[in-house]
């Protein structure tokens, strides 16, 4: 870990800089929106990464409920934390783009709203983990993660129906994308995935160390209480 991590960090940094160069200088300028559109190369990869991490959190939570393996719980908490970071980037870059293009910071569009609700649910999950005391934290956190995942399709459908009831002018995805733009987008996504993997790895190591420390402290206090 100690030796490989800096090397990987430098490589990821170089990849991210290259992806940024592609996004700012190589990708063609969008016809109607102009340079503002380039935030898209940060916004969309962050969203995909966040959704991927939340999916990992769900799978890890289910596996934890079945197997009760502490390493799986470490994966669950790590993916939720890193996922919330990327989801926050999505929610910040979205309005930055929307303001000049749509003329508004925020609209209750389906994608915006679902992402916001997703963010709220996983922040609640992290707060629960922080407030929970003792050994039951992984179990109750895993049940809450399962509830959050079950909620995702319902959130989607409710907001979709809600939107059709109250239509608002919103530019949807639609249309085709320039192959050069797609290339830059994918390169940025790969760079973001490398960054996410790096963050995931270091956070996961920290979590495992924390678990070992808690275990050692628990053992120590037991030994101190036992008769000499």
């Amino acid at each position: 870990m100690k030796r490989i991590f800096p090397i990987l960090a430098v490589l990821t940094g170089a990849f991210l800089s290259y992806a940024l160069y592609l996004a700012l200088l190589v990708a063609p300028t969008e016809q109607t929106m102009g340079d503002v559109q380039r935030i898209f190369y940060y916004h969309v990869p962050s969203a995909w990464t966040a959704f991927l991490l939340f999916a990992i959190n769900f799978v890890a939570s289910v596996v934890y409920l079945v197997r009760r393996n502490p390493a799986v719980d470490a994966i669950a908490v790590t993916s939720a934390e890193v996922g919330v970071v990327f989801c926050t980037i999505v929610l910040i870059t979205g309005p930055l783009w929307a303001r000049p293009v749509w003329g508004i910071w925020w609209t209750w569009d389906i994608r915006l709203t679902s992402t916001l609700v997703l963010w709220l649910m996983y922040v609640a999950y992290l707060i629960l983990r922080r407030f929970s005391t003792g050994g039951q934290t992984p179990v109750i956190a895993a049940t809450v993660a399962v509830f959050a995942a079950l909620d995702v399709p319902l959130v989607y459908f409710s907001i979709r129906l809600f939107r059709t009831q109250h239509p608002q002018p919103v530019i949807g995805g639609g249309g085709s994308i320039d192959p050069r733009m797609l290339h830059v987008l994918l390169m940025n996504w790969y760079a973001f995935l490398c960054l996410a993997a790096l963050m995931f790895w270091s956070r996961y190591r920290l979590e495992i160390l924390q678990q070992q420390l808690d275990e050692a402290e628990g053992l120590e206090s037991l030994e101190m209480r036992s008769p000499r």
Partner: protein, 224 residues
């Protein structure tokens, strides 16, 4: 003992305790009254406007006051180590959960029945659509809040600052249910669109989360 007998026994015990103390009921009722009065000061709508916003206001008031009841669900059992006794006993834990959900449902429904006339009076409400449909919507919506609320109350008693943890968990998960119940109520009050989709969505939500709660409650009860 069968699940049904255990459920009714727990329910009867809770009702007897509540009947003697009236703690939850009084605090909930007063809280709901305060919310209604404060909302009336915050908005001063005409009849047409109030019909459009009443669905939202009424459900926010019920949501807040149900949290007051839900927070008290397990507090008594924790104080007297009843939960520990329940863990050792061979009784199925879902009987306990169902009793708590049904008890909370009846409490919240009673509060709704008592508060709704006030809402109607303060906001000069009159439904344009078929008003009887408000009853199934209210029943499904209350169940949606109460089933997850009871479950998350059992989760949050395991944390520090348990009182604040419950709404933090319950509100984000309840967002689709809240959208559905508010939209269904507004649909019935204004008769501008059909409430059918929303009732179906609410029913789906209730079924999914009731099953999830029953499957996972034992895990939460025994989590150590």
């Amino acid at each position: 003992m069968s699940v049904l007998r255990l459920t009714t026994a727990t329910l009867a015990k809770d009702f007897r305790l509540e009947w003697r103390s009236k703690d939850a009921l009084n605090s909930m009722l007063f809280f709901a009254l305060l919310v209604v009065v404060i909302f009336s000061f915050s908005f001063d709508p005409n009849a047409e406007e109030s019909r459009r916003i009443a669905g939202g206001l009424i459900w926010v008031a019920f949501l807040f006051s149900s949290v007051v009841a839900l927070n008290q669900t397990w507090a008594r059992e924790v104080r007297n180590q009843v939960l520990d006794a329940y863990r050792i006993s061979p009784a199925p834990s879902n009987a306990l959960f169902l009793a708590k959900v049904i008890g909370n449902f009846l409490f919240v429904a009673l509060i709704e029945l008592l508060t709704t006339p006030l809402f109607i009076a303060f906001y000069k409400l009159r439904a344009v659509g078929p008003a009887w449909q408000l009853f199934p919507v209210a029943a499904l919506g209350t169940w949606a809040l109460v089933v997850n609320g009871t479950f998350f109350a059992a989760v949050s008693i395991r944390t520090r600052s348990r009182e604040i943890m419950l709404p933090l968990l319950l509100f984000p998960i309840s967002i689709p249910a809240i959208i559905a119940m508010v939209s269904a109520t507004t649909a019935i009050l204004t008769a501008e669109y059909s409430a059918r989709f929303w009732v179906v969505l609410l029913l789906t939500y209730d079924v999914i989360f009731t099953v999830a709660c029953l499957l996972l409650f034992e895990t939460v009860l025994n989590a150590e």
